[in-house]
């Protein structure tokens, strides 16, 4: 159990980094409270695994500090940090039984055998693998192997933080859901801080209380799943989270007004900042077909199950919107209404409107 603080963390895999492009991680500052469930979300190569390995101690950062409960652990090796990590591919000691696999981290630390039996029993029961304890670990199915990997992390009662590095990659889709709810349940029962790394928005948003979105070695936004969805701080977050992602539309500023394809668009508040490329961001969920509004031509309609995704063209720009119920015919002319409180301006990618006080 521990609070985790990252202070001015930078890391480069080059021996002598020159510019910012040599850094896999650029200036990370974070505070994670004890017992929380956090997710690190970002595309492949954004630095999230690097960050995880720095927290677990497998990697020593080029600059900055890692603090557990205000103790500097930056220089400590993984086995002295009391952390557990579950990897993308299940790590199983093939020659041992399931029981010995779960007991391994305890036995390495000289825990008495009676206590080992007690803990292994508890964990096996939590993971529903009690009847597998005597079998050889090598013959297990991938989801059971991954459960054992998790179990080896949870078996120690002194773990500060359990980290998951895309743990569901090799699991069949129908078992992913089961393991994910198991994880949630474990978090509630064990109470350890958990960090979950993934590039899958569904996994991140269902698991975590707070999601850290990363891109190119930088934190783009930290927030609850709802915050990330409703008020993305960067067009990247808007685009990365949600299906389909946020519409990012080119815009020009004309005094106080913001024009999109020649039409003035109402925003949630006044535009801040000075120069830079201006864009309008609005989620497809917040656009509706209206009597008046932006004239558009329907290009195509996709039925995605619960609703339809309509792609319409305004001027030269295509806009996606989610429509429930009746859908227009491709080729027809419609009018689009943007919900002003969900329409924002972004300057050079970053959020550039102030919400008006209500």
């Amino acid at each position: 159990m521990a609070k985790i603080t990252l202070r001015g963390l930078r890391h480069s895999y080059e021996p002598s980094p020159k510019g910012p492009e040599d850094y896999a991680l650029k200036a990370i500052d974070l505070d994670w409270s004890d017992g929380g469930a956090y997710a690190l979300l970002g595309p492949s190569g954004c630095g999230k695994s690097t960050l995880l390995n720095i927290i677990s101690g497998l990697l020593v950062p080029s600059e900055g500090q890692v603090l557990f409960d205000d103790h500097d652990v930056t220089a400590l090796p993984p086995d002295r940090r009391n952390i557990a990590q579950v990897f993308q591919f299940p790590v199983i000691y093939d020659t041992m039984s399931v029981y010995d696999n779960l007991a391994f981290p305890l036995r390495n630390r000289g825990v008495p055998e009676a206590r080992v039996a007690e803990r292994v029993g508890e964990i096996a029961e939590m993971l529903d693998v009690t009847d597998l304890l005597r079998t050889r670990a090598a013959g297990l199915s991938p989801d059971n192997k991954q459960k054992i990997s998790m179990g080896r992390g949870l078996v120690r009662d002194d773990v500060n933080v359990v980290m998951f590095d895309e743990p569901l990659t090799v699991i069949d889709p129908h078992l992913k859901w089961k393991l994910r709810s198991k994880l949630k349940e474990l978090h509630a029962r064990v109470g350890a801080t958990m960090i979950y790394v993934t590039h899958d928005q569904t996994e991140a948003l269902t698991f975590a209380d707070q999601v850290v979105v990363m891109q190119d070695g930088e934190i783009v936004q930290i927030g609850t799943p709802v915050e990330l969805f409703e008020r993305p701080a960067h067009t990247f977050v808007g685009h990365f989270i949600g299906s389909p992602g946020m519409n990012v539309l080119p815009a020009v500023q004309d005094d106080a007004r913001v024009l999109f394809e020649g039409h003035a668009v109402a925003l949630e508040g006044p535009v801040t900042g000075g120069a830079g490329r201006l864009e309008i961001g609005i989620r497809p969920e917040f656009i509706e077909l209206a009597e008046t509004g932006l004239p558009a031509t329907v290009r195509r309609v996709a039925d995605v199950g619960r609703h339809n995704v309509v792609e319409a063209v305004v001027g030269k720009t295509s806009v996606k919107l989610v429509v429930e119920g009746d859908v227009p015919v491709p080729g027809s002319t419609v009018h689009l209404g943007f919900r002003p409180d969900q329409t924002r301006a972004y300057r050079d990618g970053w959020l550039a409107t102030e919400r008006e006080a209500t």
Partner: protein
């Protein structure tokens, strides 16, 4: 009714022919010799199982078989652990990997009779570097043409020099196939270096090690060229391994019948040990 297409037999035919000319026909010739006696002129007399009975009761055969097992046992006991140690010590990535691999592969590229000749010259007293060093610098009597111990040490070192690389390369291939996550997980689990070797590296190397031991067993059990060039089986009969003895009987004494019987027993022993070993090593693998 299904019609059976007989064409498939034609596709099997080339393999069948190859195996026939490569193994079955020569083997049957040997079986044919092993039950007959000849004095030349292509005249043969039926002898039944006499050669087999004589051979199995012969002290000379027992001695050669014993020397053969001793030699194979020693080189396996040296090459397998040494190979594992070198493979563990080799770098996993970086510019030294190709250098190490090439250095390792070099001894295996040298023709076998050249290996024998090299070590022969190398260990000759006064002429060879090792021979000179042992005799004239250290003052130890080291002459494999007179001293059986020196002869044995030389053929063992020669084989270790020649073939440990094979074990190294196979083990190395097994080691580099272990994902980093295993080492990282072991670090987090607080495993000691020995535990990492015992529970991660050794199990992952098991299959390549099985192959390495099998290859080294078969090769060393059938070794001929290097000891023949190096010691010729001497001094006396002290390094007369099975294959050297076999050639002496077959070509030296021209006893085709006994030599054929010996070949078959030799083959059977090699096959039996290999089969036993392989079955034992793979019996608890997953189906």
């Amino acid at each position: 009714m299904r019609t059976h297409n007989q064409k498939a037999w034609f596709f099997v035919l080339p393999v069948l022919l190859l195996v026939a000319f490569n193994a079955l026909i020569p083997m049957m010739t040997v079986v044919n010799y092993s039950v007959q006696e000849t004095f030349g002129n292509n005249v043969f007399f039926w002898e039944g199982l006499r050669w087999f009975q004589e051979l199995l009761n012969s002290d000379r055969f027992h001695a050669a078989l014993g020397r053969q097992f001793l030699f194979t046992g020693i080189i396996l006991a040296v090459e397998i652990p040494l190979g594992i140690i070198i493979a563990l010590a080799m770098p996993r990535k970086g510019m030294w990997v190709p250098v190490c691999l090439v250095l390792m592969a070099l001894p295996m590229l040298i023709p076998w009779n050249v290996v024998g000749a090299m070590w022969n010259i190398f260990t000759l007293p006064r002429i060879g570097m090792l021979g000179y060093f042992m005799n004239d610098v250290l003052g130890v009597h080291y002459d494999m043409t007179q001293n059986p111990t020196a002869a044995w040490i030389t053929i063992v070192i020669m084989d270790v020099w020649h073939w440990t690389s094979l074990v190294v390369l196979l083990c190395y291939a097994g080691l580099v196939s272990i994902p980093d996550a295993y080492y990282q997980a072991a670090k987090i689990d607080g495993a000691s270096g020995w535990a990492v070797f015992r529970h991660i590296q050794l199990p992952k190397m098991k299959q390549v090690l099985t192959i390495a031991i099998l290859l080294r067993f078969m090769d060393s059990f059938n070794i001929y060229t290097e000891p023949f060039v190096l010691t010729g089986g001497g001094p006396g009969n002290s390094t007369t391994l099975l294959s050297i003895d076999l050639v002496k009987i077959a070509l030296g004494q021209f006893d085709l019948g006994p030599a054929a019987a010996m070949s078959l027993i030799y083959f059977a022993v090699t096959l039996l040990v290999s089969w036993l070993f392989y079955t034992l090593m793979t019996k608890d693998d997953e189906p």
